[in-house]
Amino acid sequence: MLDPYIESILIFSGINVILALSLYLPVSAGLLSLGQGGFMAIGAYVSGYMTSVLGWPFAVALIAGGVSAGIVGLLVGLPSLRIKGVYLIIMTMGFGEIVRVFFLNFEPTGAASGMGGIPTETTLPIVVGVTVLVLLMCFQIRGSRIGRALEAVREDELAAEVIGINLTRIKVAIFGLGAAVAGIGGGLFAHYATFIDPGQFGFQRSAEIFIMVVLGGMGNFLGATVGALVVTILPEVLRVGDMQEWRMTFFGVLLVIIMIVRPMGLIGVRR
């Protein structure tokens, strides 16, 4: 049997890789989001409610959570057509906050006291399986007709538009897909933690996902993957000796050093 501590790190690594990829997808079309925690919350609450209250099977609940987050993502993605760069980041931050405050006040899912009693369904093999599927999806998009269009939109929107690429469809679709992946990540998280409350999906979470992608490199899905692994595993590795209280400080210093040495991310290159 695997040591439970190691197993939990591996499960969180997988979930974080999924969340980082959920942000990489819109980033691949030039859309930055600091609201992935909000989509994660929707997936976590929807799937958690379905299994714990309605008694639905885990697989169905997980997919329903992803679909719900994806639909909300499509709706949030629509304004993203008019808003660019920093302004889009602020809009998505606002969205993430709206979701957190919504669940903070929503009685059916426990409001501020959180939602407990979610069955433990997320196991290491399931997390590994979903992570591999999401990675495969990113791999398949890259280099496909649609993947090239996404890249073109990121590189030069106007040039893409004048050769017949519908920016609305491309941007909204990839934003929705990213949101759906974040929702699935949230569902996996809920069924491992078994207790969720709105605070777990706030700005801190969104920022963490953002850091993973920037740290790993925004030009490549492997960058997001490596970034997620570093952000998950590095603080655990620093958990040695008598320096426990200082480990997050060391972690912060290491992040600063990595960004100075490799400003384009650990896996900075496009391919």
Binding site: Q140, I141, A159, I163, G164
Partner: protein
């Protein structure tokens, strides 16, 4: 020129105002099929604004734009592109970190199908039917503009003349009826200008209509079927190169009125 040919593009009373200034004013323009039509004029005459209006980059303040009879004034650029009107930019806008081949492949996007589902279900490393056809077409176009040997170079690493050629190849990949070229030979040496002129003529002979702006007068005079002269947003003359070269108003606009007196 056959007088019976239908126009591929017609602009009627087209105007664009920026504040109190008309960059394009009451422009009427008819571009015949299978012709090379040049729009010339001093800097600031409104040529690039005219191109922005025709391709939907800017909405017109007033007036109509008809592509083969279909009203497109105020349409989005991607819709206009799908109707067959595609442009290049004066300042070359490629996808810099993508290879030359990929740049041209993106041009095939609006003429091919296949969304996320098609992407997920493809067999890695093996091109599907559509993808293989797109690749063949892109390779042909790169060959055509003389970039076959540099197809795996990043667009940003190409020389300026090659970047301009690549932008034309990318536009051609969308199967355009009307190709708008905004100063396509700016920054090219005489040999490259010559080659570009030959390319434009061969494209016209294959049925692609070309509307271009250019300051390189000997090229314009050598290849154009029709020339429209703009000054301060208005059309001041139109006709064949022979007619334009003798037009006193054109000479005045370019050289100042004293030169003609």
């Amino acid at each position: 020129m056959n007088a019976a040919v239908s126009p591929v593009l017609e602009a009627r009373a087209l105007s664009r105002r920026f504040g109190g200034y008309f960059a394009v004013a009451e422009m009427n323009l008819t571009v015949d099929k299978r012709s090379i039509h040049a729009v010339i004029g001093p800097n600031g005459a409104g040529k690039t604004t005219l191109f922005n209006l025709i391709t939907g980059v800017l909405p017109p303040t007033m007036g109509d734009i008809l592509v083969e009879g279909t009203q497109v004034a105020g349409s989005r650029p991607d819709r206009i592109a799908r109707l067959g009107v595609v442009r290049t930019f004066q300042g070359v806008r490629l996808f810099p970190s993508m290879s030359a081949l990929e740049n041209v492949l993106v041009g095939r996007f609006c003429r091919t199908r296949g969304g996320y589902l098609a992407a997920f279900t493809r067999i890695p490393g093996k091109a599907g039917v559509t993808e293989a056809a797109s690749r063949r077409r892109a390779e042909e176009l790169l060959e055509r503009v003389g970039l076959a040997s540099r197809r795996h170079m990043r667009a940003s690493e190409l020389a300026l003349a090659d970047q301009r050629r690549l932008e034309i190849a990318r536009a051609l990949a969308t199967d355009p009826q009307l190709l708008l070229l905004d100063e396509p030979v700016a920054g090219m040496n005489p040999v490259e200008v010559q080659e570009a002129g030959e390319l434009f003529k061969s494209l016209r002979d294959e049925g692609i209509t070309i509307l271009l702006t250019e300051h390189h007068m000997s090229l314009v005079m050598a290849i154009s079927d029709q020339i429209t002269v703009m000054s301060y947003g208005r059309k001041i003359a139109e006709g064949t190169p022979e007619v334009i070269q003798r037009d006193p108003q054109v000479l005045a606009a370019y050289l100042g009125s004293e030169a003609t007196s």
